[in-house]
Symmetry: C2
Subunit: 144 residues, 2 copies
């Protein structure tokens, strides 16, 4: 459903949020260990998330990745997905037609529309905050 890059990006952002609640910045090494991902590749994804203002970073000694506490409830899953995979998931045609529309629909246009909208809705409604709190409470897990 999502690319590997996006999977890592979501898990990394959740971990950064948890650490940011504690007021500590984290390194790609620490993140990769926690979410069980390749470190260098994860670092690249973090760069993309910074560029898209999902998270922020501080270079140099005592630097690392963080996210402002007051932004955590405002960041939605959709923001993370969008920063990494773009909006193809919502907007692209299910069968790859270049000009798929109501007036020139692909064979699965309507059937997919419902699924897509459900997905879009879920991504836009789900906040980083609730995902992070579930991890903190032990209700969900970032690896294995």
């Amino acid at each position: 459903m999502f690319s590997k890059a996006c999977e890592y990006g979501i898990k990394a952002t959740i971990f950064i949020a948890i650490k940011s609640y504690e007021g500590v910045r984290v390194s790609p090494k620490e993140i990769a260990k926690e979410i069980d991902s390749p470190e260098a590749f994860t670092a690249k994804i973090l760069q993309a998330l910074v560029r898209h203002d999902v998270i922020s970073s501080l270079k140099g000694a005592y630097g690392g990745f963080e996210i402002a506490k007051d932004r955590i409830p405002l960041v939605k899953l959709a923001d993370i997905v969008n920063a990494i995979d773009g909006d193809a998931i919502y907007n692209g045609c299910g069968l790859g037609l270049h000009k798929c529309s109501e007036t020139h629909p692909c064979p699965v246009h309507d059937k997919f529309k419902a699924i897509r909208e459900g997905l879009k809705d879920m991504l836009e409604r789900t906040s980083l905050e609730e995902l992070a709190l579930d991890i903190k409470s032990g209700a969900s897990f970032l690896k294995v």
Copy 2:
């Protein structure tokens, strides 16, 4: 959402169904032209569909691909997707955890479950017959 291979497979199967209603077999060349796909790659996908008994083929002169008329209403979108992309869409974890389950869920486990089940349901309910009839009636399109 789906792989290119799967997109081609779905469109190819629909076209084969339409031609099979007319009692004529079709070649990869004709199919590729009709669905706007790379011919040789499409041929490989057709082989996979034959191996999984979604469609059937006849080698040699006057051969080609076809699907028995009485099977058209029985074949579901899910059969085509399964033959090409497997069942990762329904069963894999949304965030790539190896052991994602009710008792050890990833952060988006429940939210994805709903989407997944909607998708699965749709794929299992949608028949090749209705897709083919929509193309025949001009209600939907296979290319552009």
